[in-house]
Each structure stands twice: as structure tokens, then as C-alpha cells.
């Protein structure tokens, strides 16, 4: 299953202030860990929202409304993401806990979101029941 670790924007990222050398190195080390563990799929940092646009549809069926950046609600802006492929939600949480504090000055925030995947049936109770039934059958065959 895939998870996205989303790093939220801060006043600094929005102002285009570059992170400290120390943080950059910590992030690099962390990404290398992800690569060595075979879980990293993609990672990118985004530019400040000052050159972004927002497209909204205030009227149902109506025309889109375009708003130019920068946007004000900093905490709702994404500054970067890291996409990982792991075996369980717990594993994703472990990795997310190990990501360095992305800001370092009290405003760092990481959001962990699972990527929707219709093929991933592992969480489906029906699938689990089917698997359990089949395995029970197999245990009986193997034991008797």
C-alpha cells in the first residue's frame, strides 16, 4: 500500500527562505534511508504558492473561478511530498515518525495520507474472511 507524507508549508517556505544546511542534510539522509529500505517511490518539494493558481467552482455547473497565489492560510498549503510503498499503516507511521522536523523552528508539520487503491484488498473484511476460511481448510488438509 502507498502512503504520502505531506510536508505543510510554513511562513518560511512561503517566503522562499531556504532551509538550513543541517536540515537539508538530514532530509537527504532520511531519503537515502528510504531508498535503501526499498520503500521510496517519489519525493518532491514544491515552490512557494506565490506562482500558484487556484481553480474553484463556486456555482454548481458554473464557470471556474481562478485565484492567483500567494495564498494566506499557510497551514493548508503543501510544501512537498514523499510517496512510499509499505506493507502496513503501522510501517508508514514508523517511517513518518522518522522524517526530520521539516521546519525546525516550531512550525513543522507532516501529514500522512494513504493513497486510495482499488486493487488493495488487504483491508477488506470480506477478503480477510475468505482467506481465513481457505487457510482453515488447508490446515485441515495438511494435518489430516
Amino acid at each position: 500500500m502507498r502512503f504520502m507524507m505531506i510536508v505543510k508549508a510554513t511562513e518560511d517556505t512561503e517566503a522562499g527562505v531556504m532551509p538550513s544546511q543541517e536540515l537539508v542534510e538530514a532530509m537527504q539522509r532520511y531519503n537515502e534511508e528510504l531508498v535503501k529500505a526499498g520503500v521510496l517511490l517519489a519525493a518532491d518539494g514544491l515552490m512557494a504558492s506565490s506562482n500558484a493558481i487556484r481553480i474553484s467552482y463556486p456555482e454548481p455547473g458554473g464557470k471556474p473561478k481562478i485565484t492567483d497565489g500567494p495564498f494566506t492560510e499557510v497551514k493548508e498549503i503543501i510544501a512537498g511530498y514523499t510517496l512510499i510503498e509499505v506493507k502496513s499503516r503501522e510501517e508508514a507511521i514508523e517511517w513518518a515518525m522518522r522524517m526530520p522536523d521539516p521546519h525546525g523552528h516550531g512550525a513543522g508539520q507532516i501529514e500522512l495520507r494513504q493513497v486510495f487503491d482499488p486493487m488493495d484488498l488487504s483491508g477488506n473484511p470480506e477478503t480477510k474472511a475468505k482467506e481465513a476460511a481457505l487457510r482453515e481448510q488447508l490446515e485441515q488438509i495438511n494435518n489430516g
Binding site: K36, G38, V39, L121, E131
Partner: protein, 419 residues
């Protein structure tokens, strides 16, 4: 019901276990013992961390704890254990600094030694797969049993026996060198690809079996690419698995039927995995050695991945790649695929010539795809009556019901009078 703590243990085990086991095995020279020590350290951590807080470097903490336990154990078993001398020396040779090295620079080498050990030729194929999934993948016995649809006790026994075989055979915890390396590496790659194919086949047969094995094989391949970056076939295998995985969502219909490559909805192909596959293939090429079987198969898969529509497929290039593949991995099945590519590139008559030349191959006598391909080519040449009997023959050889039905349908579509 599993507790949250138990699930947390699994997650940390998953992330740390391979490195711990690999580092410890270098010290104690026994993967089974290394696994036990690693596990003990993890249990200790889970008892202590809730109060003391998680250390900054959990991996280093676990390694130090495990190493201390290793030394305690060796001292306690002083008289009983014949290996004491060895261990005792080992324990003194390896200082805290070594442990730290084992966690940083040297860890890739240890992991490589570990995978060469779990894929050792003295073990059966299925033991290699189970042991690799357990020690490198950090999967639980339960998960491995689920993936292979066998009883947990079967997998547990398989793993215990494998560890015993390695101990009894005094298999050195070393990565092979020189001429041996190529052979042993191909055994490792074979185990990984076997795992992948098992998952790939299972996910089509009954779509509710989760493709855990595919993901696991891909993850192992990605790890191998980092610890053995100079081996073109490692990148070739990764490329092949990435590109094949990119088609997961497109290869099964809503009702669970398999969809052939040329009929798949290419919009459903995972572009991220395709890009990763092409990058891995590029890494294989950059090693500056002739491409091996995995890299060539990946190059063929890449031709399909890069064609935006089925019509845009570069069949001439695919035919050339199959020809190269048949040189490094001669096989009548590769020849049959080459015949298909030639037919697509240069016309069905050329393909048919090659297929007819294969008719005498004993390995293909009961292979349903030979008459199936021949039927296809005959249809294109307008020889409907002959095509129909080929599809019927293919149906009689097909290995599963959906395939048989598909072939009978094709025969029926041609009509009784061959029109």
C-alpha cells in the same frame, strides 16, 4: 485481535530486522542465532521505549542491545558451546565502533551477505524463498503462509529446517567473489523473480489474493539495486518488475478476467512505475556490459510501456530484442515470442514460417500457445478452416478454464464452414 503494540512491533521489525540480522550474523556467523538475538532486542525495546522514549537512532540502540545479549549468551554457554572460542574472539574483535560501522557504511555489504546466504544453493528453492521473505523482508510466518496459501506450520518448519541446513553445512556468511559471484547472483535474482511471478500469477487466478509477493519482490529488488549497484542484471530485474507492476490495474477486468497486453487500457498503466522501470533499465545499460536476460526482457517490456497505443508498438525493435534474448537465454518459448514480433513487424507469413519451424520442438508439444499463435497468424492470412482447428487444439491443451473458454470461443467465432 492483535494489539496496537504487537502491530508496532511488526512495523519496527519490518524496518530494522534485516539490517540487525545482517549485522549480527557477521558477528555470530549464524543467521538463526542472529535472528533470535535481533528479536530479543526488539522485545526489550518495546518494554523500555514506552517509558524512556524512542531513542534518536532506534537501529543503533537495537544493535547495541542485541550485541550485548550476544556476548552474554556466549559467556553463559561457555562450556557447552563449542563455538565459544570463535564467538569469544568475535565479540572482542567487534567493538562499538564496528557496530556503528555495521549500521552505516558496511551495512550494505552485510545485507548482501545475508541475501546470498538465504539464497544459498544448499537450500531448496522453496526454502530460499521462505527464508528470504522472513529474514530480508521481515514478513511474519503468518504473512508468508497467507501469500503461499499453505499452513503456517509448513512455513515455520521450512524456515527452521533451512536455518539448520545452513548451520550444519557451515555455510560461511560471506558474499561470493570472482566466478562464483555470477552464478550465486543469478540464484538470488531467480529467487526474487520467482517470488514476483508467484504473486503475479496468483493475483490473476483469483483476484482476491493480495499481490503481497509482487510488492515484496519489488522491494527486495530495489534494495539489491542499492547494495549491488554495479550489477546490470540487478537493475534489469528491477526494471522488469517495475514495468510489469505498472500494468496491475489494467490486466484484470471488473469481473476478474485476464486482459491481454494489447487489449489493456493504457490509461490505467501506472506511469510512476513505468518511469522507475525505464530509469532502472537505463542504470543497467550504463554499466557498460552486454545486457543479460532480465535487462533484455525489461527492454522488451519497455517497448510496450513506451507505446502510447497498441498500434504504435515498435515490433521490429521487439523482434530484435527477442533475437538478442534467444542468444543469451536460448528457449523455444523465446523463439515463439520472436515469431509473434516478426509477424507483427513484417507480416503474418514471416511469422508463420518461424512458428512452423518450431512445430517439431519437443518442449512445445503440449504448449497451448503454439497452436494458439499459429491460429492467430492463419486468421490474418485468411486460412480460417486451419485456424479453427488450431484454436480447438490449443483449447484442448489449455491449463485453465478461462483460457480454454477463450480459445473455444475464438474457434466458434470462425464458424463451422471456416468463414
Amino acid at each position: 485481535m492483535r494489539t496496537a503494540a504487537a502491530e508496532r512491533i511488526d512495523a519496527i521489525w519490518r524496518i530494522e530486522s534485516a539490517r540487525l540480522i545482517a549485522g549480527l550474523a557477521r558477528i555470530v556467523r549464524d543467521v538463526g542465532l542472529a535472528e533470535d538475538l535481533a528479536h530479543d532486542a526488539l522485545v526489550t525495546a518495546l518494554e523500555r521505549w514506552p517509558e524512556s522514549g524512542i531513542p534518536d537512532n532506534p537501529g543503533a540502540w537495537l544493535m547495541t542491545t542485541a550485541k550485548r545479549r550476544a556476548i552474554d549468551l556466549l559467556r553463559r554457554n561457555k562450556l557447552r558451546d563449542q563455538k565459544y572460542e570463535e564467538y569469544g574472539r568475535g565479540a572482542e574483535l567487534y567493538t562499538v565502533q564496528d557496530v556503528e560501522n555495521a549500521l552505516d557504511g558496511g551495512i550494505g555489504d552485510d545485507l548482501l551477505r545475508l541475501i546470498f546466504t538465504t539464497c544459498h544453493p544448499s537450500l531448496s528453492q522453496e526454502a530460499r524463498v521462505a527464508l528470504t521473505l522472513r529474514l530480508l523482508g521481515g514478513l511474519t510466518i503468518e504473512e508468508i503462509a497467507q501469500a503461499y496459501l499453505v499452513a503456517e506450520s509448513t512455513i515455520a518448519q521450512r524456515i527452521v529446517r533451512a536455518k539448520r541446513t545452513l548451520s550444519a553445512g557451515k555455510v560461511p556468511f560471506e558474499a561470493p567473489e570472482g566466478v562464483e559471484l555470477a552464478e550465486r547472483l543469478s540464484s538470488v535474482l531467480e529467487v526474487v523473480y520467482l517470488m514476483f511471478n508467484e504473486g503475479y500469477a496468483a493475483s490473476s487466478g483469483s483476484s482476491w489474493i493480495r499481490p503481497l509477493l509482487c510488492q515484496e519482490a519489488l522491494r527486495l529488488g530495489r534494495i539489491l539495486a542499492e547494495i549491488a549497484p554495479g550489477e546490470p542484471e540487478v537493475h534489469g530485474l528491477v526494471a522488469l518488475m517495475e514495468i510489469q507492476s505498472s500494468r496491475f490495474k489494467a490486466r484484470v477486468s471488473g469481473s476478474g478476467e485476464l486482459i491481454l497486453l494489447m487489449d489493456q487500457n493504457r490509461a490505467l498503466w501506472d506511469q510512476l512505475l513505468i518511469r522507475r522501470g525505464l530509469t532502472a533499465l537505463e542504470r543497467a545499460r550504463r554499466q557498460g556490459r552486454p545486457l543479460g536476460p532480465y535487462a533484455l526482457q525489461a527492454a522488451i517490456a519497455a517497448c510496450h510501456a513506451e507505446a502510447r497505443t497498441a498500434q504504435e508498438t515498435d515490433w521490429a525493435r521487439i523482434a530484435a530484442l527477442y533475437e538478442a534474448l534467444s542468444r543469451v537465454m536460448p528457449s523455444p518459448i523465446v523463439e515463439l515470442n520472436r515469431a509473434v514480433a516478426i509477424a507483427m513487424a513484417f507480416g503474418p507469413a514471416f511469422g508463420l514460417q518461424l512458428v512452423d519451424a518450431l512445430a517439431s520442438e519437443s518442449a512445445l508439444q503440449d504448449y497451448h500457445l503454439l497452436p494458439s499463435v499459429r491460429g492467430d497468424l492463419l486468421v490474418k492470412l485468411g486460412r480460417m478452416e486451419e485456424a479453427r482447428s488450431e484454436f480447438e487444439r490449443a483449447a484442448s491443451l489449455a491449463r485453465n478454464v478461462p483460457e480454454r473458454e477463450l480459445l473455444l470461443q475464438r474457434a466458434a467465432d470462425l464458424g463451422t464452414d471456416g468463414t
